[in-house]
Symmetry: C2
Subunit: 238 residues, 2 copies
């Protein structure tokens, strides 16, 4: 390539993230994936050492998660991953239903046929993962299924808000899922979603999504009270 060609192809340099943003992103995905157990403690210095950075960006990342109420602090400002808690769980689902219902309805008319095809494949992969008892994969496919629909709504703020709710749920969900998944109620609801999408019937899709969530919170609450008597889940003290 000649020099002129090179000069023509210059592009804006990619803005490198700050250390704080990278630390935040890492924590975020780790929480979403269930890499952190509920009850687990987080300290600024340990995280800093783990990531090979100084205290400041580590503190930034943690305090951001705290302010989003994804992590929690006690009276002495010790930070930890929240323990599953029936009340908290149900509050999250009240808000989830309020937001994900409309998001599904708004997304329905905007989804292309190709995207609906992809949703079918996601659902197939989800059921397959269930058969294999690969729960991390189940949850990943479930997430993909829901957010593909919500994203189609085109309302950024709606998606961001929903995502925050999923993040609050993440650690507990990953902990409890194996216990509550047995009934497979979700499969039926997802089929209703897909059927509604094919007909571009926003109201039906909305109803199916809402039913999916309602069934979910019931199963989740049950497995929580069964496993732990409704109190904390003791990945705790350590």
């Amino acid at each position: 390539m000649g020099r002129a060609k090179v000069l023509q192809s210059v592009q804006p340099v990619e803005r490198f993230d700050t250390l704080a943003e990278r630390a935040y992103a890492q924590l975020r995905t780790a929480l979403m994936n269930g890499s952190f157990l509920p009850g687990q403690k987080l300290t600024i210095r340990k995280l800093a050492a783990l990531l090979g950075i100084s205290a400041t960006p580590a503190r930034d990342a943690i305090s951001r998660l705290v302010s989003e109420r994804i992590l929690e602090t006690d009276a002495n400002r010790n930070v930890s991953v929240p323990l599953p808690d029936v009340e908290r769980l149900q509050e999250i689902y009240v808000v989830r239903i309020a937001l994900e219902g409309p998001a599904a309805a708004l997304g329905t008319p905007r989804l292309t046929d190709d995207e609906i095809d992809r949703l079918e494949r996601i659902q197939t992969a989800l059921v397959d993962a269930m058969d294999r008892k690969d729960y991390a994969d189940v949850l990943a496919n479930n997430r993909d299924f829901h957010f593909t629909i919500y994203r189609a709504s085109g309302v950024e703020l709606l998606n961001q808000t929903i995502e925050q709710l999923w993040l609050k749920l993440g650690p507990s969900l990953n902990l409890l899922y194996p216990a509550y998944n047995h009934s497979r109620t979700g499969v039926h609801n997802h089929r209703d979603v897909l059927a509604g999408l094919r007909r571009r019937d926003g109201a039906a899709v909305r109803a199916a999504i809402e039913q999916d969530l309602k069934d979910g919170v019931i199963e989740l609450s049950r497995s929580l009270t069964d496993s732990y008597g409704g109190r904390s889940a003791g990945a705790g003290a350590g």
Copy 2:
């Protein structure tokens, strides 16, 4: 008072807020009250000097508001109060309607008669403030009216999420309100809310609240496009 009396009256020491939290709270209420103009820039050191603190807690407060998308940053990480923007405005209202409708419905059966009496007085004060063209007072009473109902729902997470949305709207609302308030559409809707509350008719209250918001976003969008041609509102450049 004797010493015994003093000892009896000991209370848990009030956990003094951190400087960062206080700075955050101050910024928050200032934004809610419209003390900051859209477009206004914020810098860490200026805020630190203004509050008589060092850069660290000032940075904490600002970056927290940024992460909540209440303040915005450009590519060079300069922080400023968001300018009114029709698209952003409408996204906020999509989410507001999705959340505040259910919040109102959940709050309705839980409001006491006394609280409904208080809502009547708030509404009287609101109309009175309109007559006096005291728009800051109008907005304060409007806020009180809505949140009194939502708070009754008892779902903390719902209230917190709604509050964040109001905060996103705050600066623009205070800027635009004088222009759009003339039609007074809100008064009628608030009366419907009160009537529904007296009958403990959750569906009616929900519908009235949703109508209040829908009217609001229409008026607000109109006044925005009228005043500024739909682009930015130029408290900007300075």
